[in-house]
Protein backbone atom coordinates (compact mmCIF):
# COMPACT_ATOMS: atom_id res chain seq x y z
CA UNK A 1 0.00 0.00 0.00
CA UNK A 2 1.28 3.44 -0.84
CA UNK A 3 0.09 6.82 0.41
CA UNK A 4 1.40 8.82 -2.51
CA UNK A 5 2.55 7.81 -5.97
CA UNK A 6 3.98 10.44 -8.25
CA UNK A 7 4.94 9.60 -11.83
CA UNK A 8 6.74 11.77 -14.32
CA UNK A 9 5.60 14.92 -12.57
CA UNK A 10 6.61 18.04 -14.48
CA UNK A 11 5.79 21.55 -13.28
CA UNK A 12 6.46 24.40 -15.67
CA UNK A 13 6.85 28.07 -14.93
CA UNK A 14 6.24 29.55 -18.34
CA UNK A 15 8.24 27.39 -20.73
CA UNK A 16 10.89 26.41 -18.21
CA UNK A 17 10.32 23.21 -16.22
CA UNK A 18 10.99 23.81 -12.48
CA UNK A 19 10.24 20.17 -11.74
CA UNK A 20 11.28 17.79 -14.49
CA UNK A 21 9.86 14.27 -14.67
CA UNK A 22 9.92 13.42 -10.97
CA UNK A 23 8.74 9.96 -9.89
CA UNK A 24 8.59 8.46 -6.39
CA UNK A 25 6.26 6.66 -4.02
CA UNK A 26 5.74 7.07 -0.31
CA UNK A 27 4.46 4.28 1.89
CA UNK A 28 3.31 4.11 5.52
CA UNK A 29 6.07 4.26 8.13
CA UNK A 30 8.32 6.53 6.11
CA UNK A 31 9.65 9.90 7.10
CA UNK A 32 11.01 11.26 3.84
CA UNK A 33 13.26 14.29 3.75
CA UNK A 34 13.31 16.36 0.57
CA UNK A 35 16.67 18.12 0.28
CA UNK A 36 18.30 20.27 -2.33
CA UNK A 37 19.68 23.78 -2.82
CA UNK A 38 17.44 26.87 -3.13
CA UNK A 39 15.55 26.83 -6.39
CA UNK A 40 15.96 23.08 -6.89
CA UNK A 41 12.17 22.70 -7.18
CA UNK A 42 11.33 21.26 -3.76
CA UNK A 43 8.31 23.48 -3.11
CA UNK A 44 7.02 23.11 -6.67
CA UNK A 45 7.33 19.34 -6.39
CA UNK A 46 5.32 19.28 -3.15
CA UNK A 47 2.66 21.69 -4.43
CA UNK A 48 2.44 19.92 -7.76
CA UNK A 49 2.00 16.54 -6.06
CA UNK A 50 -0.89 18.03 -4.07
CA UNK A 51 -2.47 19.47 -7.19
CA UNK A 52 -2.03 23.07 -6.05
CA UNK A 53 -0.05 23.90 -9.20
CA UNK A 54 -0.80 22.94 -12.80
CA UNK A 55 1.39 19.96 -13.73
CA UNK A 56 1.96 17.20 -16.27
CA UNK A 57 2.26 13.55 -15.26
CA UNK A 58 0.30 11.86 -12.49
CA UNK A 59 -0.05 12.18 -8.74
CA UNK A 60 -2.46 10.04 -6.75
CA UNK A 61 -3.20 12.92 -4.36
CA UNK A 62 -3.94 15.47 -7.05
CA UNK A 63 -6.37 13.02 -8.62
CA UNK A 64 -8.58 13.00 -5.50
CA UNK A 65 -11.52 15.38 -5.07
CA UNK A 66 -10.53 18.29 -2.73
CA UNK A 67 -12.33 17.10 0.42
CA UNK A 68 -10.98 13.53 0.07
CA UNK A 69 -7.49 14.87 -0.53
CA UNK A 70 -7.73 16.98 2.62
CA UNK A 71 -8.55 13.83 4.60
CA UNK A 72 -5.61 12.03 3.01
CA UNK A 73 -2.83 14.60 3.23
CA UNK A 74 -2.21 17.68 5.37
CA UNK A 75 -0.13 20.50 3.89
CA UNK A 76 2.03 23.00 5.72
CA UNK A 77 3.02 25.79 3.31
CA UNK A 78 6.33 27.58 3.63
CA UNK A 79 4.73 31.01 4.14
CA UNK A 80 3.35 31.13 7.63
CA UNK A 81 0.15 33.04 7.60
CA UNK A 82 -2.27 33.76 10.43
CA UNK A 83 -4.47 36.54 9.10
CA UNK A 84 -6.73 37.27 12.08
CA UNK A 85 -6.23 37.53 15.83
CA UNK A 86 -7.60 34.10 16.74
CA UNK A 87 -6.69 31.98 19.76
CA UNK A 88 -4.15 29.19 19.32
CA UNK A 89 -6.81 26.56 19.94
CA UNK A 90 -9.09 28.00 17.25
CA UNK A 91 -6.24 28.11 14.74
CA UNK A 92 -5.34 24.49 15.45
CA UNK A 93 -9.04 23.53 15.18
CA UNK A 94 -9.02 24.79 11.56
CA UNK A 95 -7.29 21.50 10.80
CA UNK A 96 -10.65 19.81 11.45
CA UNK A 97 -12.45 21.77 8.70
CA UNK A 98 -12.40 18.94 6.13
CA UNK A 99 -14.38 16.75 8.54
CA UNK A 100 -16.94 19.31 9.68
CA UNK A 101 -20.34 19.66 8.09
CA UNK A 102 -21.34 23.23 7.21
CA UNK A 103 -21.77 25.27 10.38
CA UNK A 104 -21.24 22.25 12.65
CA UNK A 105 -19.43 22.52 15.97
CA UNK A 106 -16.39 20.41 16.90
CA UNK A 107 -17.37 16.87 17.86
CA UNK A 108 -15.59 15.12 20.77
CA UNK A 109 -13.43 13.33 18.14
CA UNK A 110 -12.45 16.69 16.64
CA UNK A 111 -11.71 18.13 20.07
CA UNK A 112 -9.50 15.20 21.04
CA UNK A 113 -7.58 15.53 17.76
CA UNK A 114 -7.04 19.23 18.54
CA UNK A 115 -5.95 18.42 22.12
CA UNK A 116 -3.55 15.73 20.90
CA UNK A 117 -2.03 18.11 18.35
CA UNK A 118 -1.55 20.83 20.97
CA UNK A 119 0.08 18.34 23.35
CA UNK A 120 2.37 16.98 20.65
CA UNK A 121 3.69 20.44 19.86
CA UNK A 122 3.95 21.38 23.54
CA UNK A 123 1.31 24.10 23.22
CA UNK A 124 -1.09 23.06 26.02
CA UNK A 125 -0.45 26.29 27.91
CA UNK A 126 -0.95 28.44 24.80
CA UNK A 127 -4.55 27.45 24.06
CA UNK A 128 -6.17 30.79 24.81
CA UNK A 129 -3.27 33.01 23.71
CA UNK A 130 -3.79 35.04 20.54
CA UNK A 131 -1.80 33.32 17.81
CA UNK A 132 -0.97 36.64 16.14
CA UNK A 133 0.69 37.88 19.36
CA UNK A 134 3.17 34.96 19.48
CA UNK A 135 6.72 35.01 18.18
CA UNK A 136 7.49 33.72 14.69
CA UNK A 137 8.83 30.39 15.96
CA UNK A 138 5.83 29.87 18.22
CA UNK A 139 3.48 30.65 15.34
CA UNK A 140 5.32 28.05 13.27
CA UNK A 141 4.65 25.47 15.99
CA UNK A 142 0.97 26.46 16.11
CA UNK A 143 0.70 25.94 12.35
CA UNK A 144 2.42 22.55 12.58
CA UNK A 145 -0.09 21.62 15.30
CA UNK A 146 -2.86 22.67 12.88
CA UNK A 147 -1.63 20.13 10.30
CA UNK A 148 -1.34 17.46 13.01
CA UNK A 149 -4.97 18.12 14.03
CA UNK A 150 -5.96 17.26 10.47
CA UNK A 151 -5.02 13.70 11.48
CA UNK A 152 -4.14 12.46 7.99
CA UNK A 153 -2.19 9.38 6.86
CA UNK A 154 0.28 11.68 5.09
CA UNK A 155 1.78 14.96 6.24
CA UNK A 156 3.54 17.18 3.73
CA UNK A 157 5.52 20.11 5.10
CA UNK A 158 7.60 22.78 3.39
CA UNK A 159 10.57 23.76 5.54
CA UNK A 160 8.68 23.28 8.81
CA UNK A 161 11.70 23.83 11.05
CA UNK A 162 13.06 26.99 9.42
CA UNK A 163 13.25 29.69 12.08
CA UNK A 164 12.73 27.36 15.05
CA UNK A 165 15.18 27.21 17.94
CA UNK A 166 17.37 24.05 18.04
CA UNK A 167 15.25 22.32 20.71
CA UNK A 168 12.02 23.06 18.82
CA UNK A 169 13.63 21.80 15.59
CA UNK A 170 14.51 18.49 17.21
CA UNK A 171 11.15 18.25 18.98
CA UNK A 172 9.33 18.80 15.67
CA UNK A 173 11.36 16.17 13.84
CA UNK A 174 10.80 13.78 16.74
CA UNK A 175 7.05 14.30 16.27
CA UNK A 176 7.48 13.46 12.56
CA UNK A 177 9.54 10.38 13.50
CA UNK A 178 6.81 9.29 15.92
CA UNK A 179 4.11 9.79 13.25
CA UNK A 180 6.09 7.52 10.91
CA UNK A 181 6.46 4.89 13.63
CA UNK A 182 2.66 4.95 14.08
CA UNK A 183 2.30 3.89 10.46
CA UNK A 184 1.69 7.32 8.94
CA UNK A 185 4.10 9.03 6.58
CA UNK A 186 5.79 12.40 6.41
CA UNK A 187 7.25 14.16 3.39
CA UNK A 188 9.13 17.28 4.40
CA UNK A 189 11.60 19.58 2.75
CA UNK A 190 14.41 20.82 4.97
CA UNK A 191 17.83 22.40 4.82
CA UNK A 192 19.58 21.03 7.91
CA UNK A 193 21.34 18.02 6.40
CA UNK A 194 22.49 16.54 9.72
CA UNK A 195 18.96 16.64 11.16
CA UNK A 196 17.64 15.24 7.88
CA UNK A 197 20.16 12.40 8.12
CA UNK A 198 19.26 11.72 11.70
CA UNK A 199 15.45 11.77 11.67
CA UNK A 200 14.45 10.81 8.14
CA UNK A 201 14.16 7.18 7.11
CA UNK A 202 14.80 8.19 3.52
CA UNK A 203 16.06 11.21 1.63
CA UNK A 204 15.15 12.52 -1.82
CA UNK A 205 17.85 14.78 -3.23
CA UNK A 206 16.80 17.34 -5.83
CA UNK A 207 18.90 19.52 -8.08
CA UNK A 208 17.76 21.77 -10.95
CA UNK A 209 14.24 20.29 -11.00
CA UNK A 210 15.29 16.66 -11.16
CA UNK A 211 15.41 13.96 -8.53
CA UNK A 212 19.10 13.12 -8.40
CA UNK A 213 19.09 10.46 -5.72
CA UNK A 214 16.57 8.69 -3.53
CA UNK A 215 17.49 6.35 -0.68
CA UNK A 216 18.60 5.87 2.92
CA UNK A 217 20.38 8.94 4.40
CA UNK A 218 23.85 7.40 4.63
CA UNK A 219 23.78 6.61 0.91
CA UNK A 220 22.49 10.03 -0.13
CA UNK A 221 24.68 12.24 2.01
CA UNK A 222 28.05 11.65 0.40
CA UNK A 223 30.82 14.18 -0.11
CA UNK A 224 30.64 13.73 -3.89
CA UNK A 225 26.89 14.49 -4.05
CA UNK A 226 27.13 17.51 -1.78
CA UNK A 227 29.88 18.82 -4.01
CA UNK A 228 27.95 18.17 -7.21
CA UNK A 229 24.47 19.36 -6.14
CA UNK A 230 25.06 21.86 -3.33
CA UNK A 231 28.52 23.10 -4.44
CA UNK A 232 29.50 22.43 -0.88
CA UNK A 233 32.71 21.10 0.50
CA UNK A 234 31.75 19.14 3.62
CA UNK A 235 33.10 16.76 6.17
CA UNK A 236 30.73 13.81 6.67
CA UNK A 237 31.16 11.93 9.92
CA UNK A 238 29.19 8.69 10.29
CA UNK A 239 27.74 8.45 13.81
CA UNK A 240 25.28 6.20 15.64
CA UNK A 241 22.64 8.89 14.96
CA UNK A 242 23.22 8.94 11.24
CA UNK A 243 25.65 10.97 9.17
CA UNK A 244 26.80 14.28 10.63
CA UNK A 245 27.38 16.90 7.94
CA UNK A 246 29.88 19.61 8.71
CA UNK A 247 29.99 22.17 5.87
CA UNK A 248 33.50 23.49 5.32
CA UNK A 249 33.37 25.73 2.31
CA UNK A 250 31.79 26.69 -0.98
CA UNK A 251 33.12 25.34 -4.24
CA UNK A 252 33.25 28.14 -6.79
Amino acid sequence: MTLLTVQNLTVKRGECPVVDGASFTIGPGECVGLIGPNGAGKTSLLRGALGLLPFEGTSTLAALPPRKRAAQAAWLPQTREIAWPMSVERIVALGRLPYLARGARLSPTDQSAVDAALTRMGLQNYRTRLATALSGGEQARVLIARTLAQDTPLLMADEPIAGLDPAAQIATLQVFEALAKEGRAVLTSLHDLSLAGRYCTRLILMGAGRIIADGPPDQILTAARLEEVFHLQANIVPTAHGPLVQPLGVIQ
Binding site: L52, P66, R69, W75, A83, W84, S87, R90, L94, P98
Partner: protein, 326 residues
Protein backbone atom coordinates in the same frame (compact mmCIF):
# COMPACT_ATOMS: atom_id res chain seq x y z
CA UNK B 1 -24.13 32.92 21.50
CA UNK B 2 -23.84 35.84 23.92
CA UNK B 3 -22.73 37.96 20.98
CA UNK B 4 -25.71 36.79 18.93
CA UNK B 5 -28.13 37.70 21.73
CA UNK B 6 -26.57 41.10 22.28
CA UNK B 7 -26.58 42.01 18.58
CA UNK B 8 -30.13 40.74 18.07
CA UNK B 9 -31.23 42.80 21.06
CA UNK B 10 -29.45 45.91 19.80
CA UNK B 11 -30.87 45.57 16.28
CA UNK B 12 -34.35 44.92 17.71
CA UNK B 13 -34.21 48.02 19.91
CA UNK B 14 -32.98 50.17 17.02
CA UNK B 15 -35.69 48.76 14.77
CA UNK B 16 -38.47 49.57 17.24
CA UNK B 17 -37.02 52.98 18.08
CA UNK B 18 -36.88 53.80 14.36
CA UNK B 19 -40.51 52.74 13.94
CA UNK B 20 -41.74 54.96 16.74
CA UNK B 21 -39.57 58.05 16.44
CA UNK B 22 -40.62 60.48 13.76
CA UNK B 23 -42.23 63.71 12.67
CA UNK B 24 -45.71 62.57 13.70
CA UNK B 25 -45.81 61.65 17.40
CA UNK B 26 -47.70 58.37 17.47
CA UNK B 27 -48.04 56.63 20.87
CA UNK B 28 -46.61 53.10 20.88
CA UNK B 29 -49.88 51.14 21.40
CA UNK B 30 -51.65 53.06 18.64
CA UNK B 31 -48.61 52.73 16.41
CA UNK B 32 -48.62 48.95 16.84
CA UNK B 33 -52.32 48.81 16.03
CA UNK B 34 -51.74 51.02 13.00
CA UNK B 35 -49.00 48.67 11.78
CA UNK B 36 -51.62 45.89 11.77
CA UNK B 37 -53.91 48.20 9.83
CA UNK B 38 -56.26 49.13 12.68
CA UNK B 39 -57.16 52.45 14.30
CA UNK B 40 -56.72 56.00 13.05
CA UNK B 41 -56.37 55.81 9.21
CA UNK B 42 -53.81 58.60 9.21
CA UNK B 43 -51.65 56.64 11.65
CA UNK B 44 -52.10 53.53 9.50
CA UNK B 45 -50.79 55.42 6.47
CA UNK B 46 -47.83 56.84 8.37
CA UNK B 47 -46.85 53.51 9.95
CA UNK B 48 -47.45 51.21 6.99
CA UNK B 49 -46.45 53.36 4.07
CA UNK B 50 -43.85 55.77 5.42
CA UNK B 51 -42.10 54.35 8.47
CA UNK B 52 -42.21 50.60 7.85
CA UNK B 53 -40.54 50.71 4.41
CA UNK B 54 -37.97 53.19 5.67
CA UNK B 55 -37.06 51.08 8.70
CA UNK B 56 -37.06 47.83 6.75
CA UNK B 57 -34.82 49.35 4.07
CA UNK B 58 -32.41 50.76 6.66
CA UNK B 59 -32.08 47.32 8.28
CA UNK B 60 -31.74 45.53 4.93
CA UNK B 61 -29.17 47.97 3.57
CA UNK B 62 -27.17 47.83 6.81
CA UNK B 63 -27.22 44.03 6.90
CA UNK B 64 -26.13 43.85 3.24
CA UNK B 65 -23.25 46.28 3.68
CA UNK B 66 -22.06 44.73 6.96
CA UNK B 67 -22.20 41.18 5.61
CA UNK B 68 -20.49 42.09 2.34
CA UNK B 69 -17.81 44.04 4.22
CA UNK B 70 -17.03 41.11 6.53
CA UNK B 71 -16.90 38.73 3.54
CA UNK B 72 -14.63 41.04 1.54
CA UNK B 73 -12.23 41.55 4.47
CA UNK B 74 -12.17 37.81 5.14
CA UNK B 75 -11.48 36.97 1.52
CA UNK B 76 -8.74 39.54 1.03
CA UNK B 77 -7.41 38.98 4.57
CA UNK B 78 -7.23 42.71 4.87
CA UNK B 79 -9.09 44.80 7.46
CA UNK B 80 -9.10 47.78 5.08
CA UNK B 81 -11.18 46.05 2.43
CA UNK B 82 -14.76 47.15 1.93
CA UNK B 83 -17.56 46.09 -0.41
CA UNK B 84 -17.20 49.17 -2.63
CA UNK B 85 -13.75 47.91 -3.61
CA UNK B 86 -15.03 45.81 -6.49
CA UNK B 87 -16.80 48.75 -8.10
CA UNK B 88 -20.37 47.48 -7.74
CA UNK B 89 -21.62 50.42 -5.68
CA UNK B 90 -19.96 52.94 -8.00
CA UNK B 91 -21.56 51.31 -11.03
CA UNK B 92 -24.97 51.10 -9.37
CA UNK B 93 -24.69 54.81 -8.56
CA UNK B 94 -23.82 55.52 -12.21
CA UNK B 95 -26.96 53.67 -13.32
CA UNK B 96 -29.08 55.71 -10.92
CA UNK B 97 -27.48 58.98 -11.99
CA UNK B 98 -28.15 58.22 -15.64
CA UNK B 99 -31.78 57.40 -14.78
CA UNK B 100 -32.10 60.75 -12.98
CA UNK B 101 -30.37 62.67 -15.74
CA UNK B 102 -32.39 61.23 -18.61
CA UNK B 103 -35.66 61.70 -16.77
CA UNK B 104 -36.23 57.95 -16.79
CA UNK B 105 -36.45 58.05 -12.98
CA UNK B 106 -39.58 60.19 -13.21
CA UNK B 107 -41.26 57.75 -15.62
CA UNK B 108 -42.17 55.22 -12.94
CA UNK B 109 -41.27 54.63 -9.28
CA UNK B 110 -38.87 51.71 -9.71
CA UNK B 111 -37.10 53.03 -12.82
CA UNK B 112 -34.14 54.36 -10.80
CA UNK B 113 -33.43 51.25 -8.71
CA UNK B 114 -33.84 49.03 -11.77
CA UNK B 115 -31.34 51.13 -13.75
CA UNK B 116 -28.93 50.96 -10.79
CA UNK B 117 -29.29 47.17 -10.54
CA UNK B 118 -28.69 46.77 -14.27
CA UNK B 119 -25.45 48.72 -14.04
CA UNK B 120 -24.37 46.72 -10.97
CA UNK B 121 -24.89 43.50 -12.92
CA UNK B 122 -22.96 44.90 -15.89
CA UNK B 123 -20.04 45.85 -13.65
CA UNK B 124 -19.79 42.31 -12.23
CA UNK B 125 -19.71 40.93 -15.74
CA UNK B 126 -16.95 43.38 -16.60
CA UNK B 127 -14.94 42.48 -13.48
CA UNK B 128 -15.22 38.76 -14.21
CA UNK B 129 -14.08 39.44 -17.74
CA UNK B 130 -11.13 41.55 -16.55
CA UNK B 131 -10.00 39.37 -13.64
CA UNK B 132 -10.55 36.05 -15.39
CA UNK B 133 -12.23 33.01 -13.88
CA UNK B 134 -9.15 31.86 -11.95
CA UNK B 135 -7.21 35.06 -11.24
CA UNK B 136 -5.72 35.95 -7.87
CA UNK B 137 -7.24 38.32 -5.35
CA UNK B 138 -4.83 41.00 -6.60
CA UNK B 139 -6.28 40.97 -10.13
CA UNK B 140 -9.75 41.12 -8.57
CA UNK B 141 -8.85 44.29 -6.64
CA UNK B 142 -7.20 45.87 -9.67
CA UNK B 143 -10.21 45.10 -11.86
CA UNK B 144 -12.46 46.55 -9.15
CA UNK B 145 -10.41 49.75 -8.96
CA UNK B 146 -10.50 50.12 -12.75
CA UNK B 147 -14.28 49.65 -12.87
CA UNK B 148 -14.81 52.04 -9.91
CA UNK B 149 -12.67 54.71 -11.51
CA UNK B 150 -14.48 54.38 -14.82
CA UNK B 151 -17.90 54.53 -13.15
CA UNK B 152 -16.83 57.59 -11.15
CA UNK B 153 -15.60 59.29 -14.32
CA UNK B 154 -18.85 58.60 -16.14
CA UNK B 155 -20.85 59.83 -13.13
CA UNK B 156 -18.89 63.09 -13.17
CA UNK B 157 -19.41 63.36 -16.91
CA UNK B 158 -23.16 62.96 -16.46
CA UNK B 159 -23.14 65.68 -13.80
CA UNK B 160 -20.98 67.84 -16.06
CA UNK B 161 -23.44 67.53 -18.92
CA UNK B 162 -26.58 67.95 -16.85
CA UNK B 163 -28.84 70.54 -18.47
CA UNK B 164 -29.70 72.63 -15.42
CA UNK B 165 -28.57 73.14 -11.83
CA UNK B 166 -31.76 71.50 -10.49
CA UNK B 167 -30.98 68.20 -12.17
CA UNK B 168 -27.43 68.39 -10.88
CA UNK B 169 -28.51 69.06 -7.33
CA UNK B 170 -31.10 66.25 -7.48
CA UNK B 171 -28.32 63.90 -8.53
CA UNK B 172 -26.00 65.19 -5.81
CA UNK B 173 -28.63 64.69 -3.13
CA UNK B 174 -29.43 61.20 -4.35
CA UNK B 175 -25.75 60.28 -4.19
CA UNK B 176 -25.58 61.24 -0.51
CA UNK B 177 -27.68 58.19 0.28
CA UNK B 178 -30.99 58.01 2.07
CA UNK B 179 -33.82 55.65 2.98
CA UNK B 180 -36.38 58.46 3.42
CA UNK B 181 -39.48 58.65 1.21
CA UNK B 182 -39.25 55.05 0.06
CA UNK B 183 -42.25 52.81 -0.55
CA UNK B 184 -42.88 49.15 0.17
CA UNK B 185 -42.37 48.50 -3.55
CA UNK B 186 -38.69 49.42 -3.01
CA UNK B 187 -38.57 46.78 -0.31
CA UNK B 188 -40.14 44.17 -2.57
CA UNK B 189 -37.75 45.02 -5.39
CA UNK B 190 -34.61 44.86 -3.25
CA UNK B 191 -35.45 42.05 -0.84
CA UNK B 192 -35.33 39.03 -3.20
CA UNK B 193 -32.06 40.20 -4.76
CA UNK B 194 -30.52 40.96 -1.37
CA UNK B 195 -31.71 37.61 -0.02
CA UNK B 196 -29.88 35.83 -2.86
CA UNK B 197 -26.78 37.84 -2.03
CA UNK B 198 -27.09 37.09 1.69
CA UNK B 199 -27.41 33.37 0.98
CA UNK B 200 -24.30 33.41 -1.22
CA UNK B 201 -22.27 35.42 1.31
CA UNK B 202 -23.44 33.46 4.36
CA UNK B 203 -22.21 30.27 2.67
CA UNK B 204 -18.65 31.59 2.59
CA UNK B 205 -17.91 31.07 6.31
CA UNK B 206 -16.05 27.81 6.07
CA UNK B 207 -13.87 28.95 3.17
CA UNK B 208 -13.07 32.26 4.85
CA UNK B 209 -12.07 30.46 8.06
CA UNK B 210 -9.68 28.28 6.07
CA UNK B 211 -8.29 31.35 4.26
CA UNK B 212 -7.02 32.61 7.63
CA UNK B 213 -4.08 30.27 6.96
CA UNK B 214 -3.43 31.60 3.46
CA UNK B 215 -4.58 30.57 -0.02
CA UNK B 216 -2.37 27.49 -0.33
CA UNK B 217 -3.36 26.05 3.04
CA UNK B 218 -7.04 26.78 2.40
CA UNK B 219 -6.96 24.95 -0.91
CA UNK B 220 -5.22 21.98 0.73
CA UNK B 221 -8.03 21.98 3.32
CA UNK B 222 -10.44 21.20 0.51
CA UNK B 223 -11.65 24.71 -0.34
CA UNK B 224 -12.08 25.62 -4.00
CA UNK B 225 -10.75 29.16 -4.23
CA UNK B 226 -12.16 29.92 -7.67
CA UNK B 227 -15.64 28.93 -6.52
CA UNK B 228 -15.24 30.93 -3.32
CA UNK B 229 -14.24 34.01 -5.31
CA UNK B 230 -17.16 33.71 -7.72
CA UNK B 231 -19.60 33.24 -4.85
CA UNK B 232 -18.16 36.29 -3.06
CA UNK B 233 -18.35 38.41 -6.19
CA UNK B 234 -21.94 37.48 -7.08
CA UNK B 235 -23.10 37.69 -3.46
CA UNK B 236 -21.54 41.12 -2.95
CA UNK B 237 -22.90 42.36 -6.27
CA UNK B 238 -26.45 41.26 -5.41
CA UNK B 239 -26.43 42.55 -1.83
CA UNK B 240 -24.51 45.80 -2.36
CA UNK B 241 -25.96 46.49 -5.81
CA UNK B 242 -29.50 46.22 -4.44
CA UNK B 243 -28.57 48.31 -1.38
CA UNK B 244 -27.13 51.10 -3.54
CA UNK B 245 -30.09 50.88 -5.90
CA UNK B 246 -32.63 51.65 -3.16
CA UNK B 247 -30.58 53.80 -0.77
CA UNK B 248 -27.81 55.45 -2.76
CA UNK B 249 -24.20 55.40 -1.65
CA UNK B 250 -23.87 54.68 2.06
CA UNK B 251 -20.22 54.34 2.97
CA UNK B 252 -18.23 53.20 5.99
CA UNK B 253 -20.70 50.51 7.16
CA UNK B 254 -18.88 47.68 5.41
CA UNK B 255 -15.53 48.97 6.62
CA UNK B 256 -16.22 49.91 10.23
CA UNK B 257 -18.72 47.29 11.41
CA UNK B 258 -16.54 44.19 10.86
CA UNK B 259 -13.67 46.15 12.40
CA UNK B 260 -15.60 46.85 15.60
CA UNK B 261 -17.01 43.33 15.91
CA UNK B 262 -13.90 41.32 15.03
CA UNK B 263 -12.71 41.19 18.62
CA UNK B 264 -16.10 39.99 19.86
CA UNK B 265 -16.22 37.31 17.15
CA UNK B 266 -12.83 36.00 18.43
CA UNK B 267 -11.34 36.87 15.06
CA UNK B 268 -13.23 34.06 13.33
CA UNK B 269 -14.33 35.15 9.84
CA UNK B 270 -17.36 32.83 9.81
CA UNK B 271 -18.71 34.25 13.08
CA UNK B 272 -17.95 37.76 11.89
CA UNK B 273 -20.19 37.28 8.83
CA UNK B 274 -23.53 37.12 10.62
CA UNK B 275 -22.33 39.37 13.43
CA UNK B 276 -21.52 42.10 10.90
CA UNK B 277 -24.88 41.63 9.19
CA UNK B 278 -26.67 42.29 12.49
CA UNK B 279 -24.24 45.03 13.50
CA UNK B 280 -24.58 46.73 10.12
CA UNK B 281 -28.36 46.71 10.41
CA UNK B 282 -28.16 48.24 13.90
CA UNK B 283 -25.69 50.89 12.75
CA UNK B 284 -27.66 52.06 9.70
CA UNK B 285 -30.89 52.08 11.76
CA UNK B 286 -29.10 54.23 14.34
CA UNK B 287 -27.71 56.59 11.68
CA UNK B 288 -31.15 56.94 10.09
CA UNK B 289 -32.57 57.70 13.52
CA UNK B 290 -29.98 60.46 13.90
CA UNK B 291 -31.06 62.02 10.58
CA UNK B 292 -34.58 62.32 12.04
CA UNK B 293 -33.61 63.50 15.50
CA UNK B 294 -30.92 66.07 14.61
CA UNK B 295 -32.15 68.85 12.33
CA UNK B 296 -35.36 66.98 11.38
CA UNK B 297 -36.52 69.77 9.07
CA UNK B 298 -33.27 69.99 7.10
CA UNK B 299 -33.46 66.51 5.55
CA UNK B 300 -30.03 65.28 6.66
CA UNK B 301 -28.84 62.48 4.38
CA UNK B 302 -28.10 59.01 5.71
CA UNK B 303 -24.79 58.71 3.86
CA UNK B 304 -23.61 62.00 5.34
CA UNK B 305 -24.50 61.02 8.90
CA UNK B 306 -22.98 57.58 8.40
CA UNK B 307 -19.69 59.11 7.28
CA UNK B 308 -19.80 61.57 10.19
CA UNK B 309 -20.25 58.66 12.63
CA UNK B 310 -17.98 56.27 10.75
CA UNK B 311 -14.91 58.42 10.24
CA UNK B 312 -14.27 59.20 13.95
CA UNK B 313 -14.95 55.54 14.84
CA UNK B 314 -12.43 54.53 12.26
CA UNK B 315 -9.90 57.04 13.56
CA UNK B 316 -10.38 55.66 17.05
CA UNK B 317 -9.79 52.12 15.76
CA UNK B 318 -6.62 53.19 13.97
CA UNK B 319 -5.40 54.85 17.14
CA UNK B 320 -6.06 51.68 19.15
CA UNK B 321 -4.34 49.49 16.55
CA UNK B 322 -1.37 51.83 16.57
CA UNK B 323 -0.98 51.36 20.31
CA UNK B 324 -1.27 47.58 19.97
CA UNK B 325 1.55 47.41 17.46
CA UNK B 326 3.74 50.06 19.06
Amino acid sequence: MKLFGALMGLTGVMFLASLFVGYAAIPIPEGLAALMGRGNPLFVTVMQEIRLPRVLLAAMVGASLGLAGAAMQGFLRNPLAEPGLIGVSGSAALGAVIALQTGLAAAFLLALPIAALTFAALSVGLILLLAGPRGSSLTLILAGIAVSAFAAALTSLTLNLSPNPYAASEIMFWMMGSVANRAMSHVWLALPIMALGWAALAGLGRGLDALTLGEDAAEALGISLSRLRLQLLLGTAAAVGAATAVAGAVGFVGLVVPHILRRFAHGRPSTLLWASALGGAAMVLAADLVTRLVLPDRDLKLGVVMALIGAPLFLHLIYKTRREFA
